[in-house]
Structure formats: C-alpha cells, structure tokens
C-alpha cells in the first residue's frame, strides 16, 4: 500500500488492535519507516492534506544526517 509520507508503495500492516475489536490498524513504510494508525485525525492521513514540510517523497533517504556515523572496523 502507499505510504502517506513518502508515497512509495512499500507500506504494510504491522499491528492490529490486540483486544480483537478491529478498532484500528497500524501501518509502516518499508522505505522511510513512517508509522501511522488509521484512526489518527483525518487531516494527517491524506497525503494531499499533510504538511509538505514533513513529506519525504522528494528526499534521498540515504543522504539523511547520521548523528553517529558507522566507524571504521578495527581488525
């Protein structure tokens, strides 16, 4: 399914309401790791209405800042 944050087709269900009520589902994107629940406020769930500041569709994930870079291996 489509990720609402980066618009990739790599999102999938990762959790459902544990009381068996079917009250909600949680999805996660395989590209950007965004997680969301289908009962969050509606304005956040529609990609067209989300704040463009937070969207990651035009961002190269691999070029994001890495606060703790991988150090060289000591052999």
């Amino acid at each position: 399914m489509k990720c609402i944050r980066c618009l990739s087709g790599e999102a999938a269900v990762v959790a459902t309401a544990p009381d068996g009520s079917g009250a909600w589902e949680i999805y996660k994107c395989g590209r950007c790791n965004f997680g969301w629940r289908n009962t969050e406020p509606a304005k956040l769930l529609d990609p067209a209405n989300r704040d463009p500041f937070f969207q990651l569709d035009k961002v190269d994930i691999d070029k994001l800042i890495t606060p703790c870079p991988i150090p060289p291996l000591h052999r």
Binding site: V14, A23, C32, W36, D51, L56, I61, P67, C68, I70
Partner: protein, 475 residues
Amino acid sequence: MFKDLRQFLEKLEKEGQLVQYTDEVMPEPDIRAISRAAADMGATGPAVIINKIKGYGNKKIAVNVHGSWANHALMMGMPKTTSLKEQFFELARRWDSYPGEVRWVDNPPCQEVVLDSFNLLELLPMYKVNEHDGGFYLSKASVVSKDPEDPDNFDKENVGIYRLQVQDADTIAMQGLPFHDIAIHMRKAEERGEALPVAICIGVDPMLSFMASTPIAYDQSEYKYTAAINGIPMELAKTTTGFLDVPAGAEYVLEGEILPRVRVCEGPFGEFPGSYSGARKQVVIKIKRVTHRRDPIFENLYLGRPWTEIDTLLGLNTCIPIYKQLRETMPEVKAVNALYQHGLTVIISTESRLGGYAKSVAFRAASTPHGISYVKNIILVDADVDPFDLVQVMWAMSTRLRGEKDVIVIPNTPGMPLDPGSEPPGMGSKIILDCTTPVAPEPKMRDVKMVDLIPEAIAFQKKLTQMHQALGAVS
C-alpha cells in the same frame, strides 16, 4: 525513597497527586492531549493514569508522573509544598553521598511474565506523542548497556533515556548522540563488528528515570546514584541472558541488541526545545524477548512546547552538576538555575570576590562538560537574588544591568544540535548578562541605599497564612 514506580504511584494517590482517568480514549489524539493538559496544570499538577484505551483493552498508561514540582518533591521524600530552592539544596546535599548500595534479587517482579513471541505495537499501548512524529515512540524508557571492552566494570554500565521509535513487532530505532555514553558503547561494538546487547526498561522507580537523564561521568553508575539519593539500596536483577543489570521492579524489560554497522531512517520527533528534529539515520535494535510484571503499567512522557514533564524531569539534575563543578573552584557561587531547556539558559547567583568576578563564573559555567554545548544564555545575579524566583531575577535585570558594559556576546561557540537557534546544527554563540552590583575596583555607577528587608514580617506572615487558610483559601 521508592523502590519502584508502583510504590511512587501509591504515594502520589495518597497525596492527592494522581488522577485515575477511566473514560475510554482514542490513542490519538487523546493521550497526548491528556498529557499536555496535565502539564499545563503547572507546578502542583497531578500524574494521570489512563485506564481505558480503545483497542488496547485493559492496558494502562501513566503520564505526567514527574510533571510538577509537587510530584518532584514527593519523589525526593519531601512535602509536596516544598519550594524549588529547598529541593535544589537538598538534592545538592544528597549528591555527595554517592555511591549508594546496589543489590541483586532473584525472581524479580520484572520477570513475572516472559515472552519470546510478541508484537511490541500490540503488547505496549503505544501512541503518537506529537502529531508529526515519524511513528510511535517510547519517550521515557531507560536503556541499559555495557562497555564492550570492559563488561565487568559495573560503573561503566550505562543507564540512559534516549528516544526510541518502535517501528514494528520487534524493531526499534534509537537516537544516541555522540556526547551520550551509549554512543561510546555503540562505537566500540561497531569497531569490532559486534552487536551491542541492550535492555530497555519501561516504568522504573522515578529516581532512576531522574538519574538516567542526568549528565554524570562515563564511569559513574546511575544505579549507585539512585541508591545514594533515595537513601535505600537499588534492587537489580540480571536480564534473562545473564549479561545486563536491570531494575528488579521495572514494569517492562525489552531484551535485545543494537545491530552492528546498520543505520535506518528514524524520526522526526517533537523534541524538548519545542520543535521537531528531522528524519535521521540512526541505529536499530532487534528485541528478542520481553519480560514484564503482572498487570503492567506502561509509562511515557509528553514533551513539546515548554513547560512539559520533560522540563521538570531534566530540571534540577541539570542544575546540580553545573553547581558542583562551579563550586570546586568558586565557592562564592550560591545557586544555579539551569531549568530552561536543559541548561540553554542559566541563571547563577554568586557573591563577587573582586571586580568583574561574575563574568569569570559565566566562563566556567560555559566550559563545564554539559555547558560546552548547552549553556548559551548566562544571567549572573548577586547572592541576595534567588535565581529560582524569576520575579527577583527580572528585578535584578531591571536595576543592575547596564547594556553598555554588562552584555557580552561570544560568537562561534559549540551549539546544541536540537536547539532550533543552532545553525549549522552544532554551532552557536553565547551571551553573558551580568546583573550583579559592581564590586571594587570596578566603580559603583551610583551610590544608593537599598530599602531593607523587614524581619518583623516573617512572624506576621505565619499568622496571616493561618488566618487566610481558615477562610478556606487554596494553599
């Protein structure tokens, strides 16, 4: 004081500082709205236990546990009306009793239930802390790790609170920043190509959460500090792997490891300066086993636009290390208020040994280990000004600050990356506002006489307070 979270929650309830919220709520946006509301109730606000969350059955969440100075005083074993200044001095006194006693127990409550099959997003009542967060975060979990080069050194075992994005059933991304102790452990493990075992502890005794968010030395033990300040031994248990030490009374323990030499997309997250920090590449943890108490209580923390629970939690434990370090060479320092965003703005009360002394106090504060990147705006006040009383601080600024000589800006200093004013992230500047009275040989600007304090007022205040309370006044 309290050996686990449950004992503290009982105390809060007895003192009228805990609200049991029993109406059903939605995970979003209700839990953060309740947390925000509790924070906005101010210095006497209650903790809240949310008892019914749609889809999560009977799982319970405790929020705002550290959220007010009243709760903070109770955590210290002091009356809930204790002033901030009194709590500061009591904490400074107990700080010197490090190290306290730790002891290990068998059959710990944190291992009453052991799960090898689980989905973290269903087991824990997770929710979005802020609406634009990148996912579902643990914001108050203590992460335990050891130094891979010195695993038998108990004092180098680290307990720290870092933000944790629970991404799926068994995967958590974590932000450790280079100046955090866990980053040292991570680097050493990754240089060897090894995984770093970790234990993530949720719902621990409030003094451990307090110490886990305090900047102490790399080889000082958060467990021994907790015991020292609590005045009771810290009870620990070995993880089921036998490698790490966890609080015996923790509500949940997630046992796993940081995968070596992997980075994943994590964030953003609404952070304590009140702004979102962006999406980043961070380390990833695989959880292999979960243990928990029967009927566990999940605990989390709201952070965002100050003042929130995190400001109280990070409050006095930012002040004390700076205070102690200043007084090593500057005994004239009376008190340090570093409450504002983990020490970005600091107010220091000091006597002046000689002309210009207050500025030297500022330089020292700005070069303490925490101060290097955090201490940014430094306000100096005289010894007769309480730095925790902002009315007095503003008075000092109004009458003792002269812009042409008392305001110094130092450009191009280290900055704190989460400060939205630090650009590029990690660079900044510092400003000193000297609101102290000139001392010889600096000339006095004008010779004035201060209006004296009135000692007779103290006895009258006691009497008037009793009379006021008898009228049914709120204390």
